[in-house]
């Protein structure tokens, strides 16, 4: 008799668990759809500016989907319900990073051409010199000339990257131009501007 009651209790508990889980199926499905839409909307821009954070949100979405596939609806619901807010945070982080990079680009776009122009002017004059100044031998001067050609090209590439909407790449290239231009100026016995000195 006791065994019979125990069996019924086990079956009832099992049925309650199944019913509880099934009850969460629709909300979980809706939460997953909302999460997918939110992540999808934020992803493209975020991937450009905060790729590390995108991975975390994508992993969370995948975990929610996996739980749903395994019919673990309550778990799927819990995993998915916070994702729209996380996607919003992702979009905010991407916007903040984009603003920071744009500011950095604008500063360098205003300043780097002055450095490149100063180097070009000095290289043009030194190319006409019958003898190089002290502390500048022919090899160093040739290195500076090829460096000038290199930064001129990289600066053009940076401008194209910015025009193409790839601000992170544009800023990376501009930083490379800044470092190389400062190095060339030092080689030529020139003072690099304050903004180009290592902090």
């Amino acid at each position: 008799m006791k065994k019979g009651f125990a069996l019924i209790a086990v079956v009832l508990v099992g049925l309650m668990l199944v019913a509880g889980c099934s009850r969460d199926k629709e909300p979980a499905e809706a939460a997953l759809k909302a999460a997918e839409a939110a992540v999808s909307a934020a992803k493209a821009e975020a991937a450009k500016y905060v790729p590390d954070q995108v991975k975390g949100v994508e992993d969370a979405l995948k975990a929610a989907k996996d739980a749903f596939e395994k019919k673990e609806y309550t778990q799927a619901l819990n995993a998915a319900k916070d994702l729209p807010a996380k996607a919003k945070e992702l979009a905010s982080a991407a916007a903040a990073k984009k603003a920071e990079l744009t500011k950095s680009w604008e500063e360098m776009a205003g300043g780097l051409p002055k450095m490149v122009e100063a180097i070009k002017s000095r290289v043009d004059i030194l190319s006409k010199s019958k003898k190089l100044p002290a502390n500048l031998d022919k090899a160093k001067f040739e290195g500076a000339k090829s460096g000038l050609a290199e930064i001129t090209q990289t600066w053009t590439d940076a401008g194209n990257a910015f025009k193409g909407g790839n601000i992170a790449d544009a800023v990376a290239k501009a930083n490379a131009v800044k470092a190389k231009a400062a190095e060339i100026m030092t080689t030529l016995g020139m003072q690099a501007p304050a903004a180009a000195k290592p902090s």
Binding site: K114, I125, A192, A194
Partner: protein, 65 residues
């Protein structure tokens, strides 16, 4: 004597030289370019303050292109 510009535009890449006693444009040109005969480049870059390449004053700040 080379001088760094203080304040103002942090990207200003103008190169300056403060004239010392006994210096001439020829001598300054030799210092920066290795060739005194290029002194005209410095004269041309400073025509707002120089009217004669043979007349420079101690303490004058010259642009070195």
């Amino acid at each position: 004597m080379a001088e760094e510009k203080a304040g103002g535009d942090a990207w200003d890449s103008t190169q300056w030289h403060v004239v010392q006693k006994g210096e001439s444009l020829w001598k300054i040109s030799e210092q920066y370019y290795g060739d005194g005969s290029l002194y005209k480049k410095i004269f041309e870059a400073n025509q707002d303050i120089l009217s004669d390449p043979n007349l420079i004053k101690v303490g004058q700040k010259l642009r070195i292109p």
